[in-house]
Amino acid sequence: MNLLGKWHPRFWKRTPRAAPGGDEHLEAAPASGLDDLEMRLNHWSHLWNVDSESATRTEAQQVVAERLAHLMDRCFGRHVQSSLRGKSGQISLASSTPIFTAFLGRRATRELSRRVLQDI
């Protein structure tokens, strides 16, 4: 076996072959899939940030805020919560993530976010 074969200049000059079938695999995804993705992203965005334009809070946002308030209370204390409340008067993942990350670490905060958003 020629171990030095791969260093031959011939391999360097090789141009990659075109994908079989040309451009036919680059078709646009069905519109229903994109709508579904957009809906999911909007849902997560609303859960992430309570201070969005919509004045009305969903039930899911309420649950997230309650879970966060409970964790904030046990980790830091009641006083920290007041400084993190937004215009809507509730804690959001967006407002609480920096302080959790600073004092508990990125990995613990990721775990915390996962727990908070579980079953929602």
Partner: protein
């Protein structure tokens, strides 16, 4: 209270109960045999267990932070401080079996050379070096707390305490600086740094305390509150040594002040235990069930 913290304070309570038996024996008989054995054997063992536990817990806390996170350095420094106290206790136990905190006022008499003895090396490592590590760690924590606007301005009581601490440090420096002419050992000069470093730690502790008050009674707040408690107790112990050297305290009270250091060790160990309890909270299965409709 987290299970680990409860274990630490239960261990301290048992240790102090044994210590009180030794103290009562000393009061009744007037002899130091049992009291001496308690401090040299059980006391050293207690310090070794507590500092080793603190170091391990601090390393575990550090491991929860990535390399680019500022708290990783803070916990690394705190782990180094605990390791230095552990090494200092071992060196002192090996060299002469003196009391773990030592009579550094006697040992810091001017001598030539680097270190007077292995015991003095242990005092330097477990004292000023450990304090320097802790000061860097707490400084980092304060900068993070300031970022979140958690550090409040000092009250009049805080300012008065700061003034007292600084006055004490300057008075100690004024006593020690003239001794430089007698060519003291490096170890002796390093031990002179104990008071200024303790003052720095107290200043940091006061600032951390203000932020803890602002936070509330959560696990993270209690973690940093424990460091404040430990530093204040260490300062009280230092003050007791200073007072007993000046014969300001009666003999029976002097022996009683030696117990302060065990409480400080337990407080130091409890701090990372609280932090780990806070981290464990994020992994609890019950979190996602709360508020579920």
């Amino acid at each position: 209270m987290p299970r680990l913290v409860r274990l630490i304070w239960t261990l301290l309570a048992l240790h102090l109960a044994l210590g009180m038996i030794a103290y009562v024996h000393h009061l009744v008989t007037g002899q130091y045999v049992v009291l001496g054995w308690y401090f040299s054997a059980l006391g050293t063992l207690f310090f070794l267990v507590m500092t080793a536990a603190e170091c391990c817990l601090a390393i575990m806390c550090r491991s929860w932070f990535d390399s680019d996170e500022p708290m990783r350095l803070a916990w690394g420094m705190i782990a180094c401080a605990a390791l230095a106290r552990f090494a200092g206790t071992i060196l002192r136990a090996i060299s002469d079996g003196h009391l773990p905190w030592g009579n550094w006022h006697q040992l810091s008499q001017p001598f030539g050379g680097l270190f007077v003895s292995l015991s003095q090396l242990g005092l330097v490592i477990g004292g000023p070096l450990s304090m320097a590590f802790l000061a860097v760690g707490l400084g980092r924590v304060l900068s993070i707390q300031r970022k979140f606007h958690l550090v409040e301005s000092l009250t009049r009581g805080d300012q008065a305490l700061l003034f007292l601490v600084l006055a004490f440090s300057f008075s100690q420096l004024a006593i020690n600086l003239p001794l430089l002419g007698q060519h003291p050992s490096l170890g002796t000069m390093l031990l002179w740094l104990s008071d200024p470093l303790l003052s720095l730690l107290l200043i940091e502790a006061i600032l951390v305390r203000r932020s803890v008050v602002r936070m509330g009674q959560g696990l993270v707040a209690k973690c940093w509150g424990m460091y404040v408690l430990a530093i204040v107790i260490t300062s009280a112990g230092d003050g007791a040594i200073w007072a007993s050297n000046l014969n300001l305290l009666p003999e029976s009270v002097t022996a009683l002040t030696w117990y302060i250091w065990f409480v400080a060790a337990a407080a130091f160990t409890s701090a990372p235990a609280f932090q780990l309890a806070a981290v464990a909270l994020t992994r609890e299965d019950g979190v996602h069930l709360l508020g579920k409709r």
